[in-house]
């Protein structure tokens, strides 16, 4: 009996190790990280997930995109230590969260917050990714139809 349990335990450990190795290869490979950044129009590398962010800065990014009604793909770097380092190396940016729009690195929380405040985020979403922000409706329609009327 105990032999059987030992055997099973060994098998589980072996599988787990294999999984870990696969994960780390996955995350450290720059090409695969690049693919991750391009897989969706908006990709966020954050701590925790959008339903339960584990850091105030990551939470701020999630809330900003929610306000703009923008769907995004999120990756939890706390679930993968190699990804946490890999994404920092990839974008030469020392902190998490990191935001990519149309495969292009946009910045972290400070930058996204600033872009949200000064309206740049609406423009970037539209021009770079063809995404119309929920906060844009009045402005874009107004400015396109009658620019000078205001």
């Amino acid at each position: 009996m105990s032999f059987l349990i030992n055997n099973i335990t060994r098998q589980i450990v072996r599988n787990h190790r294999q999984l870990l190795i696969q994960c780390s290869q996955f995350a450290t490979d720059g090409k695969i990280i690049e693919e991750m950044t391009k897989k969706n129009k908006v990709v966020v590398f954050m701590k925790g997930n959008p339903e339960a962010p584990k850091c105030g800065f990551s939470n701020a990014v999630v809330q900003i995109f929610r306000m703009h009604g923008v769907d995004f793909e999120a990756h939890d770097v706390l679930a993968d230590e190699e990804l946490r380092q890999g994404i920092k190396d990839f974008s030469s940016w020392p902190t998490i969260p990191q935001v990519f729009i149309n495969g292009e690195f946009v910045g972290g929380c400070d930058i996204l917050l600033q872009m949200h405040k000064d309206g740049q985020l609406i423009d970037t979403l539209w021009k770079n990714a063809g995404i119309k922000s929920a906060l844009a409706e009045d402005e874009t329609e107004g400015s396109k139809d009658d620019e000078k009327s205001k």
């Binding site: 800065f57 940016w93 020392p94 972290g108 400070d110 930058i111 872009m115």
Partner: protein, 84 residues
């Protein structure tokens, strides 16, 4: 956490980026893991936000390895004057 202080970071930024004004606030209750900074430098002129932040990040390359959270606001001297 980290051994860095407000004063240290202020001096480092001033020296590296020729800042005309720097404010650094330790938001970590003294453990040195979380800072917020206002950075005013002529070197930011003509640079987009991302480039400005990259400049700051590279000035603090070593420090940011141990500082857990660093929030920054960057201004040119003209922008800073307009803020006041």
């Amino acid at each position: 956490m980290s051994q860095y202080t407000e004063e240290y970071l202020k001096n480092k930024l001033t020296e590296k980026l020729n800042c005309t004004h720097v404010e650094v606030i330790d938001q970590s209750d003294g453990c040195g893991g979380k800072f917020a900074a206002v950075i005013v430098s002529e070197q930011f002129a003509g640079k987009a936000l991302l480039q400005r932040h990259r400049l700051v990040n590279s000035a603090l390359q070593e420090e940011l390895k141990t500082i857990h959270a660093f929030s920054q606001k960057t201004f040119t001297p003209e922008q800073w004057a307009a803020e006041q």
